[in-house]
């Protein structure tokens, strides 16, 4: 898989500390966001903020395998979908606790990631991208045919998830801060993983799989483990997203969504975690702003993507690397 993305720089200790600082600044800004928009008289923006935070979780989870493992998964929206449908399906069976719903989402995602990852990771490069895309689409079609939950049209949630038996998450502010707490917690987890024994092996496989085999590592086991972890984290974002939207539909898992997640990771700089969070913010804000200015924001977003790839000397991945080297 290493031929898929240009090798990025390995995490250096000072750079790592810098990234924690960058993430900490982002988290403080997020925490200040609700009081500021409320003071400005736009409290409805809190809900949009929650959406951005949920996508930030998903982008960060994708960065774990895309940036650190050089696995270009084009089917990650499926896990968002598992998260959203875990909320819809479990609450229809009376399981409304958000932690139990997250557990359900993580279990089904782990199973799906284990099976599809094991098949996809036997292949390389273009195959891997296409196969993850195809499996993502398989999940998409499964939920489209799930007529009990609205099929193509989606399914409105009658209420948000409960937390320890309380309905505290019905409050938009509470949901925002709960999402922020999950983001911070998962960032800490990702940060520890990247700096752990496991993370070093994963990054090593990205840099040179032949070298890693020659010192005794089979790439497959490590890549598959990372793939499963990433899928599970993304599904947690899905659980939060369903609560934000109070609605679930297969649209959460279309292949466009998978592409957008990749764009978020790349916008912020692959292999930087905090960058993925920033990238999610940038992409979604850009989407909202362009969306207000024109109905055809996708056109300009597309133009922006193509130009960015064409006019950075070695592509976006190269650009990121250059900036990092200069630091």
């Amino acid at each position: 898989m290493t031929d898929t993305a240009a090798p990025a720089a390995a995490p250096r200790a000072p750079a790592l500390a810098g990234r924690v600082k960058a993430a900490a600044i982002l988290f403080v800004l997020f925490a200040l966001f609700p009081p500021i928009v409320t003071a400005a008289g736009d409290p409805f923006l809190v809900l949009i903020g929650t959406r951005i935070l949920a996508y930030a979780i998903a982008a960060m989870a994708l960065d774990l395998i895309l940036g650190y493992g050089a696995m270009v998964s084009f089917g990650h929206a499926a896990y968002l979908g598992f998260g959203t449908y875990a909320v819809a399906i479990l609450s229809s069976y009376g399981v409304s606790d958000i932690l139990l719903q997250m557990l359900g989402a993580v279990l089904i995602s782990a199973l799906f990631a284990l099976v599809t990852g094991a098949i996809s990771l036997r292949t390389k490069g273009v195959y891997f991208i296409m196969i993850t895309l195809a499996f993502g689409q398989m999940a998409f079609f499964f939920f489209i045919s799930l007529s009990a939950y609205g099929g193509d049209d989606g399914y409105g949630l009658s209420q948000r998830s409960t937390l320890f038996g309380t309905q505290v998450l019905e409050n938009d502010l509470a949901l925002f801060y709960a999402t922020l707490a999950v983001l911070i917690g998962l960032f800490a987890l990702c940060h520890r993983i990247v700096g752990s024994r496991f993370g070093r092996v994963l990054t090593g496989i990205r840099e040179n799989p032949t070298r890693m085999e020659a010192i005794g590592y089979s790439p497959f086991r490590f890549q598959l483990t990372a793939f499963v972890i990433s899928g599970c984290m993304t599904s947690v974002a899905g659980v939060l997203l369903a609560n934000q939207a109070e609605f679930v539909s297969p649209a959460f898992m279309s292949w466009h969504r998978s592409g957008e997640l990749i764009v978020m990771v790349v916008l912020g700089g692959i292999g930087t975690l905090a960058g993925a969070i920033g990238g999610a913010v940038a992409a979604l804000v850009l989407e909202e702003v362009l969306g207000m200015a024109t109905d055809h924001w996708r056109l300009w977003f597309g133009v922006f993507l193509v130009l960015m790839v064409l006019f950075s000397p070695r592509g976006i991945t190269g650009l990121v690397e250059q900036i990092r080297r200069r630091k």
């Binding site: 390995a10 700096g195 092996v201 070298r211 890693m212 085999e213 020659a214």
Partner: protein, 251 residues
């Protein structure tokens, strides 16, 4: 120290037999050198022994245990390590991190997700020891991509040492290294003689005849002679097939 037995090993690419019924043994503790002209199939043979390349037929055994069907990582865990002719490093990692990863493969589980690896003293200490042996301890904090060619060769050796091999396959460790550097490198290898078994592929004849306990000559995928350096040097067939060629070239 382990014993490596290779029996009737073959490998073909299409119609071309690159490894043709090769049998050889590396006795525990010896340095067994394999020499041969370019294109003799030396690197292919190393790739087969290390498990990077599957063999068409034949048997590879480590201390009598058949390892023919095992993967390269599994062979490393059994004590069979290798160095590459074309340096393979993790370019974005520091020299120390490159070697510490090799140590980590042999010490404890790599499925640890929480504790920071950068401050694991046991890994770093063992990595430093390997670096010191390879003569690269002063570059421990440099990025692998910033190393010179000679330093890359040393890193290659340090990584192999860090896996604590009982048999070490060295694929032209001196390639592109000249003068004093080569001198120091040969001395370092000589100092390791007897600690583990070595199978050495090398073009530098001086180095081979100084280091090797025994020498095998590989020509067009076949072993045409095996013996002590003196015996091989005197072998008429070898002189005709190989050494003569070298002397002509140097003349």
């Amino acid at each position: 120290m382990s014993r490596l037995d290779i029996t009737h090993l073959t490998k073909s690419f299409g119609a071309l037999k690159v490894t043709d019924d090769v049998s050889l043994t590396a006795e525990p503790g010896e340095i067994h050198a394999i020499i041969g002209p370019n294109g003799a199939g030396k690197t292919t043979l190393i790739a087969q022994i290390s498990g990077q390349l599957a063999s068409d037929s034949g048997r590879i055994a480590l201390d009598g245990r058949d390892i023919t069907g095992t993967s390269m990582p599994d062979r490393v865990h059994l004590g069979l390590a290798r160095s590459f002719q074309i340096t393979q490093t993790l370019p974005g990692f520091t020299v120390l991190e490159n070697v510490a990863l090799a140590v980590q493969a042999r010490h404890g589980s790599s499925f640890r997700f929480w504790a920071p690896v950068a401050t694991e003293a046991a890994l770093n200490d063992a990595a430093m020891r390997a670096l010191t042996e390879a003569g690269l301890e002063h570059r421990a904090e440099a990025r692998a991509s910033a190393l010179s060619h000679g330093e890359h060769r040393r890193l290659e050796l340090a990584c192999a040492l860090a896996t604590e091999p009982s048999v070490l396959l060295l694929d032209e460790p001196l390639a592109g290294v000249g003068g004093e550097d080569a001198e120091a490198f040969v001395a370092a290898l000589a100092a390791m003689k007897g600690r583990f078994t070595m199978l050495l592929i090398e073009h530098d004849m001086d180095a081979v005849f100084r280091l090797a306990t025994r020498v095998s000559v590989l020509v067009y995928g076949r072993i045409i002679a095996t013996g002590t350096p003196e015996a091989v040097r005197a072998d008429a067939a070898v002189r005709a097939a190989y050494l003569g060629e070298e002397e002509e070239a140097s003349a």
